[in-house]
């Protein structure tokens, strides 16, 4: 018996219709491609230049807009939430702007960037953690 794996395709296979209306949408494709490319770049910039949308103080449950320093007697600060929310928001805005691009432009964006950029992002992110590796 021959089984057909869901991922199987032959070189001559033609594009089959997408399995949902959202997945068939050209604008949605533009959004996910631009979002996927933007996120690693924005996140690295946020982490590298310390640009959180907000700072969380876990000991006091206090949230401070943008970057805030640790205060005496209030414990440590957390910036990761602020980096993540900022990245997702800016990535979404860029993705929405991407839906305005003509389909011909979106088709020319190399899809390899969506996985290559996250892989490359690990280099500056790991480097920024150098104090942890060298102590």
């Amino acid at each position: 018996m021959i089984t057909t794996a869901a991922t199987q395709s032959t070189p001559t296979a033609k594009a089959a219709p997408a399995t949902s209306s959202l997945a068939a949408s050209v604008k949605f494709k533009a959004f996910v491609v631009v979002f996927g490319i933007s996120v690693p770049i924005i996140y690295v910039l946020c982490e590298w230049f310390n640009l959180p949308l907000f700072t969380f103080h876990p000991a006091t449950n206090r949230v401070e807009f943008w970057w805030g320093p640790a205060r005496s007697g209030e414990g440590p600060t957390m910036y990761w939430y602020g980096w993540t929310v900022f990245t997702v928001l800016v990535g979404s805005v860029l993705g929405l702007l991407g839906t305005l691009l003509p389909e011909s432009v979106v088709k020319r964006i190399p899809l390899a960037l969506v996985w290559l950029l996250p892989v490359l992002a690990f280099i500056p992110l790991a480097y920024s953690l150098m104090p942890f590796w060298t102590k």
Binding site: M1, I2, T3, A5, A6, T7, Q8, S9, P11, A13, A15, A16, A18, T19, S20, L22, A23, A24, F28, K29, F31, V32, V33, F35, G36, V39, P40, Y43, E47, F56, P58, A59, G75, P76, M78, W80, Y81, W83, T84, T87, V88, G91, G95, L111, A112, V114, W115, P118, V119, A121, F122, L125, A126, L129, P131, F132, W133, K135
Partner: protein, 161 residues
């Protein structure tokens, strides 16, 4: 029923871990299926492991990643004070460094989910085959990395220790 604060956070940690295991299983099946697609049926365990209908996992993987992410983000508030500080005091700097890398990896993975879902919902489109394979394997790698780092950190200093 009243439970202690320690028990509450330990339950959340266990839920986070269980969600991560489900995600790990789904992503590993999918990654193996795209790396070594089955052309012919066979009775072996490995072949059956590879022969899953991988496209059907996409939405579940996205939901599980988001749920695991949210649970991890919730626990992180307590981790920062009750786990990280003692780890630093004990001088486990590299262990903590790997945790920092885990949080970065989780966010980068989150950013991949929309395109990952899109690729899998267009699984029969050969134009996306290479990128779909790479994104799936990358997500599986991140999931394994995060799972192992989280597991080691829990061994170093889990909640309640």
């Amino acid at each position: 029923m009243v439970i202690s604060v320690n028990t509450f956070w330990t339950i959340l940690l266990i839920v986070h871990g269980l969600l991560a295991i489900a995600l790990l299983g789904a992503l590993t099946h999918q990654a193996v299926a795209v790396l070594m697609p089955v052309r012919q049926a066979a009775g072996g365990f490995v072949t059956r492991f590879r022969a899953v209908p991988a496209a059907g996992y996409a939405t579940a993987v996205c939901v599980l990643w988001i749920l695991t992410f949210l649970m991890g983000a919730w626990i992180y508030t307590k981790y920062r004070i009750y786990v990280r500080i003692p780890i630093e005091q004990a001088g486990y700097w590299k262990t903590q460094g790997f945790f920092e890398l885990k949080e970065h990896a989780a966010t980068l993975g989150l950013g991949l989910l929309p395109i990952y879902w899109y690729f899998w919902k267009n699984a029969q489109n050969p134009e996306y085959e290479g990128a779909r394979k790479s994104v799936t394997v990358l997500l599986a790698f991140i999931c394994w990395f995060n799972f192992l780092v989280g597991h080691v950190l829990n061994n170093v200093r889990g909640f309640g220790s």
